[in-house]
Symmetry: C2
């Protein structure tokens, strides 16, 4: 509310209200520091385009082999100079195909890491009987779903998710990946290996050049494709060159309270009280870059 | 399939498959022309930014008074030179506040046009028991929902939706509007007047400069705000200057079949068969610009 420059404007309260919706709940009676967590530098990737830096947090808990290979590729500079060659607005930005620069046929294919045992995972529930899953929630900062009856959990295809593309065979992914840039394509859940999430720089991702829908997003001319200038693992950089990034600690009670506040919207703004439900892909996970 | 430049690449079939998902179904046994409709020039707005043209289709069936006022404002050049002054990545791009250029206090406020009678509307059903509504579907090209029991229907807050911002009072909107640019904020349904939808140029919308989340998306410095260079009603232009735009005719049987195909995904790509459900905001509505 202190930030709105036009306090007398008729929309100012709407703006303020949405500010409240998008703020994380901060309580004086809890350890504020623990409401945030710092992603491990070893699992943080800086992917640079000409428009800026995209920061990806990898998820070795759900996709150990994919993350291991992806990190090796990053360290070998495999992605340097490759392009986002297939970009469909509202769907995905895809790139990292080695044939782009004649680097194909040199990388092993990956196993399908589509789901795992839900046991021993700290699952913070957001919604039961979601349209696409028995239950949705968060697992260590990642939007997820689980089927408790069958003891399985998986990462959901929300905006910002990073997953490995593949052929029809589940085990055919290798280097080519995509970032979800539009309304969550949840029908892809458990069909592709989600191995990371953009934690900062989705505005940069949104600037990646689009292909035409007639061409299925394929951008024929390389000059029209947004390149990956470089990719680096944060841990490989001197500490002073790493970004000091904190993201919401979804295991903290403050986050559970934020979920509850978003589920039960009691502000006078709401002429029609929304149903007490949550779309797991529409819950913002705050990030701070110091 | 004819468009993919790398047929031997391991991801090519994935790309082809998604091409199929995103194609409208075309049948030789129906009138192909009628699978498309041409939005009325009188309800088509060209909103130009320095990055390109955004094409909005207005919806006077759901928001007659809001559309009437918006069109008058467009014709009076009210929006020329105004800015998107509040832009939250993944949420909304908001602009059109008259005080931006000292044009405030001159425009009447608008009634709440949040829902209407479902009677006499051609509602093409997509999903029963959606998380946020008893039923979702499409009404003449617009994603919508209805409550048949109470005979009401409303337009849903999907990406690309154009709606009037407001204060806490339902009847306080006037000129300031927003475009949804991220995961559908469906909790806003029936709380704000949706009066249009971006039918072409969402890639341009995605290039609108973002504000910082710390500042609730407010961009303090005007030089950092994306301006609205001009806005025009297509009908006011000579025919040869109008875009020849066609969008999917959601009332055609081919669209019902597309919904059905997306609901029941039988392609061998799907290692895990997705649940037979549809997110109304994730169904692409194809557009052609000749």
């Amino acid at each position: 509310m202190h930030l709105h420059p036009k306090p007398t404007n008729p929309i100012s309260l709407f703006a303020i209200f949405v500010a409240i919706l998008f703020s994380t709940t901060v309580h004086s009676d809890v350890d504020k520091a623990s409401e945030w967590r710092q992603p491990a530098a070893e699992n943080t990737v800086y992917l640079d385009t000409p428009e800026g830096r995209i920061v990806i947090e990898l998820n070795p808990v759900f996709a150990p082999k994919t993350v291991t290979q992806f990190k090796r590729l990053v360290r070998e500079k495999f992605y340097h100079g490759l392009h986002f060659y297939r970009v469909i607005d509202g769907f995905v930005a895809q790139g990292g195909d080695g044939s782009d620069l004649d680097r194909e046929l040199t990388q092993p294919t990956l196993p399908a890491e589509f789901e795992r045992s839900a046991a021993e995972l700290n699952f913070v529930s957001a919604q039961a009987n979601d349209l696409f899953a028995p239950e949705t929630g968060f697992i260590s900062g990642f939007p997820a779903a689980r089927d408790a009856e069958n003891n399985t959990a998986w990462l959901t295809h929300c905006p910002g998710v990073v997953a490995m593309a593949r052929d029809n065979t589940p085990e055919s992914g290798s280097t080519d990946f995509y970032i979800v840039i539009g309304q969550a394509p949840r029908y892809l859940d458990r069909n592709l290996t989600v191995f990371g999430r953009v934690i900062n720089g989705m505005d940069i991702v949104q600037q990646i050049n689009r292909g035409s829908s007639d061409a299925n997003g394929i951008i024929e001319n390389e000059h029209d494709q947004t390149p990956m200038v470089q990719a680096k693992i944060a841990a490989d950089l001197p500490v002073e060159q790493r970004l000091a990034i904190s993201v919401t600690n979804t295991n903290h009670s403050a986050f559970a309270e934020l979920l509850n506040n978003r589920r039960h919207r009691s502000h006078e703004f709401f002429h029609h009280r929304p149903p007490a439900v949550l779309d797991v892909c529409q819950v913002p996970i705050a990030v701070k870059v110091d």
